[in-house]
């Protein structure tokens, strides 16, 4: 649970005082309330004036051992009209409930008390809050703030990160760089966004909790001040020794001891890297986090110098590519690139999608960068192609176009994809690539698909028959050209034939106005896929009712050639009025031998999870299938019959028929 305290000026506070003190609370114990009053007022947090002319309220996060307080302060006049007062609404509780993220997530919480909703002294008792619900609300608020923080000017964040790392254990007071115009430090909302960036990027890297105030008029003088305080104006003259490092917001200030020019450069560059990474891919920040908290300037410099995006890839790799892409190709910049190609590839693969999008124009073919560092350009193209092929963080088509990826790269990545994920998933990748309309892709695809799974090839051939009939025909040729077809593939091909009306339409598009060629392709398909079931009368008789309704002369012509000559009459009788000659097909007589060149069909039973035991063939054929007897045994034939039965059943029952 979380307690609430309202703090404002009152003639009589809940702790019997006059002045600024608790005027409303959910805390029942007067002693406990007085304790919180001491904590929150001793260091002037609840009472300190919000920045002069600040456009909004201040959000303050304080830690007291394992307890924490989140304060929302609004500048108000006290009941006697005296300016310079505050109405502070404090949430107090355990740090496990009220952490810095929750505090920031509450920056726009509608539950905060405002002057017009909570007149000092009028609230009396307040309710305790459900910590779980509060954290849920804060979580949403934090997400919104995080998105908003990523839109901040990267230079602003870069200077902030580098400044903080110059003294990782230090406390900081930030004030507007331009005193005349105020600036972001005077705006509590911007400060909250900056703080969100700090939490998100540096996180626990410094080993200390981030406590903060988003807007204060005066630099705190108390030693118990928060680590980060945003002032609405430059610190005014004070006789107190500053309690923290002072820095103008948006400008790099160095507080490390001893000041080290090299270290300053390292941190400045690292700050830019962190800011860029946060802007483009906050998830990538996790890769850059230090192994152990950095508590000194030296440790921060070591971290900055050795942070890697991937093994051997410097953290600022993406930025280096941007710099080079913008025309900085002098040797000292190029030296920052990895020299080994595998490291270069690893670096490119670690780049966030947004960074690749940013690099597209800078590294397009013909740019100075692509010309001077062809290996980088190639790695970028390969990476884009890979992401497109693999559908992991797929880039937009225009990004692919900008990078000018050429056929060899596509084929290389398709081959890699097949190598890593197998032929079964290759077809989906091919579909994605083919949709891009890459010139000359067809020939390459045929090579890439030489080992693809036949059922997928059939499906792809059917899909492409309309737009790419030649490519479709080549895919069909790959299927029928296979020397050995695994049993599982063949069964799957049966299903494809069933679902695609024996590929009649596809073949017709592939061989327009050439019935003989259609027939020949269909015959080859039947021979490769269905032939074992066509060697017996029963099989033919069961198949014909599925074939006849299609009323395709080439199909019946192909079927007639696929059955034993002695059984051809069955098919010819079924052809009925579809005389082959009338349809431009060679005449067929009963008892004619198969044409020369018809290949013998050999079916391979591929061992698999379901085919490794004694019942493997039976499993492949279905629960009622006979035990396996080898490629030419009776059980093997029976299995084909089972497949055909299934096929026919599907033909009869399938609604699409």
């Amino acid at each position: 649970m979380v307690d609430q305290i309202l703090i404002s000026w009152s003639d009589r506070t809940l702790t019997e005082g006059r002045g600024v003190g608790p005027t409303g609370s959910s805390i029942g114990s007067k002693e406990e309330l007085a304790g919180w009053e001491r904590r929150l007022l001793a260091a002037d947090w609840a009472a300190a004036e919000v920045g002069a002319g600040a456009p909004g309220p201040a959000l303050v996060y304080l830690r007291f051992g394992d307890e924490a307080a989140v304060l929302h302060k609004e500048p108000v006049a006290d009941p006697h009209g005296r300016p310079g007062s505050t109405l502070a609404h404090a949430l107090v509780g355990h740090v496990s409930v009220l952490d810095a993220r929750v505090a920031l997530g509450l920056h726009e919480w509608p539950g905060w008390a405002w002057e017009d909703t909570a007149r000092p002294g009028s609230l009396g008792g307040l309710d305790r809050l459900d910590g779980y619900e509060l954290r849920r609300i804060a979580g949403n608020g934090y997400q919104n703030l995080d998105a908003s923080a990523r839109e901040l000017e990267p230079d602003l964040l870069a200077a902030l990160f580098a400044t903080l790392l110059s003294d990782p254990a230090g406390r900081f007071s930030f004030y507007p760089a331009d005193q005349a115009s105020g600036g972001p430090a005077g705006d509590g909302t911007v400060a909250a966004r900056l703080l969100c960036g700090v939490l998100r990027v540096l996180g626990d890297a410094t080993g200390q909790a981030w406590t903060f105030s988003t807007c204060e008029a005066e630099e705190p003088a108390a030693a118990t001040r928060p680590r980060l305080v945003f002032l609405s104006q430059a610190p005014r003259f004070s006789t107190h020794v500053p309690t923290g490092n002072r820095a103008r917001i948006g400008e790099l200030s160095w507080f490390g001891q001893p000041a080290d020019e090299d270290g300053s450069d390292v941190l400045r560059t690292f700050g830019e890297t962190l800011a860029e990474t946060f802007a483009w891919s906050p998830e990538t920040i996790e890769r850059l986090r230090p192994a152990a908290p950095v508590r000194s300037t030296h440790e921060a410099i070591v971290w900055a110098a050795h942070a890697e995006l991937a093994p051997g890839v410097p953290a600022d790799f993406g930025n280096v590519l941007v710099i080079i892409g913008r025309g900085r190709t002098e040797p000292e910049v190029l030296r920052r690139l990895p020299t080994r190609l595998d490291v270069l590839a690893a670096g490119v693969s670690a780049l966030p999608q947004e960074m690749l999008a940013r690099l597209a124009d800078l590294w397009a073919p013909g740019t100075a960068a692509a010309t001077s560092c062809p290996q980088v350009a190639e790695a970028l193209r390969g990476q884009i192609a890979w992401r497109f092929v693999s559908d992991v963080q797929p880039p937009a088509a225009d990004l692919v176009t900008k990078f000018g990826i050429e056929l060899p790269t596509w084929l290389e990545q398709l081959a890699r994809y097949q190598s890593e994920f197998g032929g079964a998933r290759l077809l989906a990748a091919v579909r994605r690539v083919a949709a891009l309309g890459v010139p000359g892709l067809e020939a390459g695809l045929i090579r890439a698909l030489a080992d693809a799974a036949p059922p997928g090839l059939l499906a792809l051939a059917d899909e492409w028959a309309g737009d790419r009939p030649e490519l479709s025909a080549q895919l069909l040729r790959i299927v029928v050209g296979r020397d050995r077809m695994p049993e599982q593939d063949r069964i799957a091909c049966c299903t494809e034939l069933d679902q695609r009306a024996f590929m009649v339409a596809c073949v017709e598009r592939c061989f327009p106005n050439d019935p003989a060629a259609e027939s020949e392709m269909l015959r080859q398909l039947l021979s490769v896929i269905v032939a074992p079931g066509l060697q017996r009368r029963e099989g033919i008789e069961r198949l014909l009712p599925a074939v006849s309704p299609i009323r395709s002369a080439p199909l019946l012509h192909a079927l007639a050639q696929s059955v034993p000559p002695a059984l051809r009459e069955l098919v010819l009788a079924e052809a009925g009025s579809l005389w082959f000659e009338d349809n431009g097909l060679p005449r067929l007589d009963a008892g004619v031998s198969p044409p020369a060149g018809q290949q013998a069909v050999v079916t391979e039973v591929r061992p698999g999870p379901a085919a490794q035991g004694p019942d493997a063939a039976a499993s492949a054929a279905g629960p009622a299938g006979p035990p396996p007897e080898g490629p030419t045994g009776r059980g093997w034939l029976s299995k084909w019959w089972s497949a055909l039965v299934l096929l026919v059943a599907a033909l009869v029952l399938g609604p699409s028929r």
Binding site: R12, G84, E218, A234, R236, H240
Partner: protein, 367 residues
């Protein structure tokens, strides 16, 4: 070795060994660097406008002149609960104290002890209040800091004094925590401020202000309870000075009934002083009479609890004063009626009690 007690934290400072810093406005402190070949005049100016760093309580800076070995250090604390009018009274008081021409008739020469401290106070309090007639913001509940400081010279006697003012928030005084009020240990002169609105029947009803009176007096020591900050400060001072067992606290105090413009008129004890000539506030010869009248005035109105400082401090004077002479309209005081009245006299009386000003009426008062 010159050991000086820091007025902020009571740290005993080896003045000559304390690091020196310079402070540009906005740029923060930086170690003082005086080139070896620098002209003596330039070096004196550089050192004279620098600061010594006290390492106590988180560290703070003291003006270089604060350690002037030839000057006696007088530290004045403004005492009173929140909203009694300490800030406005002090701003008006210092505004007149700075206008040193009038003070020459008392043989006083006043100059800022530190230019930056003084400029800050003028910019933030004196000018907005006296020139722009603005309501001043409440005093921050923050670590005690020198409010303003002056080098006061009695030109006739050739004595110098470093006079330092502390105006801290009433909330801090009310809490009475030693930790927050360490500066009281260095205070050797006090100005207690009484808000007449806290005392029933003292002010004339005037709309919302009149209605407010009842609420104010009922809290924070109002009504018969007095002002708790007076009690807290007197107790802390006795502890600090180790004077808990003696009858009187060995420190001078000026007790001021502020906001005198709000008082019910007609009481002869009051009228004489509110109608006095403008220059009367420099006449230290009338301090005893005024003190007597104020004492009687408060006592007869049942405000004897507010007289506690006068009872406990071995030297005390009592005064009527008004920092504004009028009530505010919104955030400003009306130009036509805004007139700080009798604000300098309590300070002069205090300085006389401290021996800064030589005056026959205070001859019996040890410095």
């Amino acid at each position: 070795m010159a050991i000086i007690e820091c007025p902020v934290c009571l740290y005993m400072l080896d003045w000559e060994q304390a690091p020196m810093v310079t402070m540009g406005e906005g740029t923060g402190p930086a170690p003082l660097v005086v080139p070896k070949d620098e002209a003596p005049a330039a070096a004196r100016m550089r050192r004279g406008t620098a600061y010594r760093q006290c390492p106590g309580r988180g560290g703070h800076y003291l003006p270089a002149d604060y350690g002037d070995m030839l000057a006696e250090r007088i530290t004045i604390g403004m005492i009173g609960t929140s909203l009694v009018g300490k800030t406005h009274l002090l701003a008006a008081m210092i505004g007149q104290f700075m206008g040193g021409v009038r003070l020459r008739q008392l043989d006083l020469q006043v100059s800022p002890l530190d230019l930056l401290i003084h400029k800050r106070y003028v910019d933030e309090a004196v000018r907005p209040f006296l020139d722009e007639r603005k309501k001043l913001e409440r005093t921050r509940v923050a670590a005690a800091e020198i409010t303003d400081a002056f080098l006061v010279t009695n030109v006739a006697a050739g004595r110098r004094y470093a006079v330092t003012f502390f105006d801290v928030s009433g909330e801090m005084l009310l809490r009475g925590s030693a930790d927050e009020n360490l500066f009281l240990g260095a205070v050797n002169a006090l100005i207690f401020v009484i808000d007449p609105q806290s005392i029933r029947g003292l002010v004339r009803p005037q709309g919302s202000t009149g209605a407010e009176t009842g609420a104010v007096h009922a809290t924070s020591g109002g009504g018969s309870a007095g002002d708790y900050t007076f009690d807290n400060v007197l107790k802390l001072l006795r502890l600090a000075r180790d004077e808990t067992a003696v009858e009187f606290l060995g420190i001078p105090a000026a007790v001021v009934v502020a906001k005198a413009d709000l008082l019910r008129r007609g009481d002869l004890l009051l009228e004489r002083w509110l109608r006095a000539e403008a220059d009367e506030d420099l006449d230290l010869g009338t301090v005893e009479e005024e003190s007597s009248d104020v004492f009687t005035y408060l006592y007869t109105h049942g405000a004897d609890r507010w007289l506690e400082p006068a009872q406990q401090c071995i030297w005390s004077t009592l005064h009527f004063a008004s920092a504004t002479g009028t009530s505010p309209r919104d955030d400003e005081f009306p130009e036509g009626t805004f007139r700080p009245h009798r604000v300098i006299k309590p300070l002069l009386a205090l300085l006389a009690m401290k021996g800064v000003i030589d005056h026959p009426a205070f001859e019996a008062t040890p410095a």
